[in-house]
Symmetry: C2
Subunit: 443 residues, 2 copies
């Protein structure tokens, strides 16, 4: 019954998330995360009101501060590297963790690149007038607060914060524990920027995995969760989250070589899609070969792949055609496994229909390609394969924000909502309807 004061609501918000009653008695790390989310929400309110030029000024200052604080960043990173070497982290992961002069320069250049990208906030996406005279505009606005849960890659820390800032969003970043010192140094540099609203970029610096569900339930403060990482992390986030999630999950991508393929082109595309960079989500894990050309193409392509260091897992037909003893058999699990390695599951299918059945059952709906000279077969494939990106006569490796011409991307969405495929700046925005009237009421 008391009049509530028009003061800031921070104190109330700190008490407990209204929709997560199990957390009414917050303490320690949970209390701190909640406080960070409250700050991010308040920063988001401010960010949403700023002109886009102000957002770009923040990016300029971030680039400068990263350069100024290089020494601190290298020192912090060295601690992470030493700890990782001590615990025996594998070399590829250590490489992703390491910040070198070169990678810091690239990080800074990345920030300056994002600053140059066209800004679409405030854009009228459409506008019309109704017979009663009300004017409706659909206007591009920030999403609000974005929670990003990601692996131990310090470059992602800055990329994610900067892409979100460019689009007027505050971020709550939860990176991998192996990168914690590096992340603290990077975010400390970023938070020195005078132009940045307090709280706009938050780093959760307690990397206890048990806190992730708590973060994913702050649905009154966070508008979107983007998990990037392995299958188990993404499954955990999807299970626990009460906040909308855009998954950047695994890619079990494929090439189907149709009987009417240009076989030289097929060989070139298959090699590129598998070998050029096997550790990424748009590399292929499955090769489908039309039974009409299996007798000749299976032996030739497997020889080429083997020579390039690729280990083949073949179905029975493949094994018969290349003297099975040299090739391990593919099990059911192989058709859905993202190897991220020089391994390829190879299967012979009965024409286009066989390929379509295989993909309907096993594709992760990321990127799939057909190689054929037959236009009507290609068009049927492009129409019927339900993947974020479908290719005719090109490598699946082009599924990427830069290759699409979007510039930097926050990731590649494997969802069908809001963002599908490469997720650039526009996909980090929402919209609202703004209606201007002269006193109209509904009859």
């Amino acid at each position: 019954m008391e009049r509530t004061e028009n003061a800031t609501s921070t104190n109330d918000l700190l008490k407990a998330p209204p929709n997560t009653r199990e957390f009414t008695d917050l303490a320690g790390p949970e209390q701190k995360i909640r406080a960070q989310c409250v700050e991010a929400r308040e920063a988001a309110r401010l960010l949403a009101t700023l002109p886009p030029t102000r957002l770009d000024e923040m990016l300029d200052e971030i680039a400068t501060q990263l350069e100024k604080n290089a020494e601190e960043i290298f020192v912090a990173n060295a601690k992470d590297i030493a700890a990782a070497e001590e615990t025996g982290l594998n070399k590829a992961l250590i490489d992703r963790l390491r910040i070198t002069e070169k990678s810091l320069t690239a990080m800074v250049a990345g920030v300056r690149h994002v600053r140059t990208l066209p800004q679409s906030l405030g854009q009228k996406m459409s506008e019309w007038e109704r017979p009663n005279g009300i004017k409706i505009s659909k206007v591009r606005v920030p999403i609000g607060v974005i929670g990003i849960i990601f692996e131990s890659r310090p470059n992602v820390t800055i990329d994610a914060a900067v892409l979100c800032l460019k689009t007027g969003n505050a971020t709550v970043l939860r990176g991998g524990k192996e990168a914690i010192h590096s992340n603290r140094a990077l975010i400390a540099a970023l938070q020195k920027c005078a132009s940045l609203p307090k709280g706009a970029v938050q780093l959760i610096d307690n990397t206890d995995r048990a806190l992730v569900p708590f973060l994913c339930r702050q649905s009154d403060l966070i508008d979107l969760i983007i998990p990037r990482g392995g299958h188990s992390l993404i499954e955990a986030v999807v299970s626990e989250s009460r906040i909308p999630v855009i998954k950047h999950a695994h890619g079990v991508c494929s090439v189907f070589v149709h009987e009417k393929a240009d076989l030289a082109m097929a060989e070139k595309v298959v090699l590129n899609a598998k070998v050029q960079r096997p550790g990424v989500c748009n590399a292929i894990e499955t090769l489908l070969i039309d039974s009409a050309i299996a007798d000749t193409f299976v032996p030739s392509i497997t020889a080429v792949l083997t020579k390039a260091g690729v280990v083949i897992r073949g179905d029975e037909t493949v094994r018969k055609l290349v003297q099975g003893d040299t090739i391990r058999g593919a099990t059911e699990a192989d058709w859905t496994t993202e190897y991220l390695d020089l391994i390829l599951a190879v299967r012979v299918v009965d024409g286009l229909d066989g390929a379509l059945e295989h993909l309907a059952k096993y594709s992760s709906h990321h990127s799939d390609a057909i190689i054929t000279e037959d236009t009507s077969v290609a068009e049927r494939y492009l129409n019927e394969v339900d993947s974020a990106t479908v290719y005719w006569n090109a490598s699946t490796r082009f599924t990427d924000g830069w290759e699409f011409g979007f510039g930097a991307e926050i990731g590649i969405s494997t969802d069908k909502f809001h963002a599908r495929g490469p997720m650039g700046l526009d996909e980090l925005t929402s919209y609202k309807y703004v209606i201007r009237g002269t006193g109209q009421v509904r009859g």
Copy 2:
């Protein structure tokens, strides 16, 4: 190691959802729901390949079959009405449940209207060529299988199925238990359509609420869940779902009367927004009055509202200005309650900033309006209020697909993802990137 046949994968899919291990031993109603989702998934694959004209033919046939089966539909509906009267369901709910000659005619007309709406499936949303010669098109495609969980309103059953069919989606419908006979008769009529692929419209005819979580975990078969209904249903779906959810949740909408408002306009808009149809989500629940005009406007508007049958819940200032004994005090809970009734919470705030603070804290981000003649105040309000629809000098009651000119809508999204505000046909689609090359590989 065996070669998996290119046969339909139905039998495998029936065994268990791969991502919900807790359901490995399905039996009875769960087995049946799973089987219905498998059928819907197969129908969705087919629907996605059909030309839009074929989808429109289905709608023609549905309209005809509803007319032909009117008698069966009335008989089934009478059973629901009798049961509802016996259990003492309230009159408003019984009215929503009843199918009359007039409402069936309106339902059929609605189907024929959707048939006339422009079809955007297959539309190239954008198209460009990269320097390497690959051609990228962003093409509008169906979402796939949409699960709709809704209240006991038979008209929603047909609306939802038809809007989804128009956009090439299969549906799994789970309506309220009070409408089960009506829904069975409606869906039976619809399933008589020879043009409709088998399984494209599924009705879950076991309305045990305990089965809702199971339905929301079929993430390999259902692409989107749309819950429509009360707060507890929506919270339950959000908690249990492993599938993306677009919430059509409650509207705690407001009008703010600024000191520079045209007070006659303010009175007209407030009355319309509260009284014209109080039971809908875009009616207002909160009236904010600028303290600068409170002395005169609070007594006058509360008198007008009271005369119109509205019960006022006022803050202390309001109660002082209208001799408090006649007005119940507003508690904290009143600022977030969707009454859906002739009740209005009224509060005096300190100018625009006071209104913005109130809305940041309490608005459900559905529809909020300002009444003012001051352009710069209005523009600040429109920019800073984070709601799906923000109004200047018009009633919040226009937040509606028809009023926007979209035609029929599946509901009003209170999410910021994919669809915000009135959700029409375009929002029932996704997109994919189609890439045509000539053998390009990544360097």
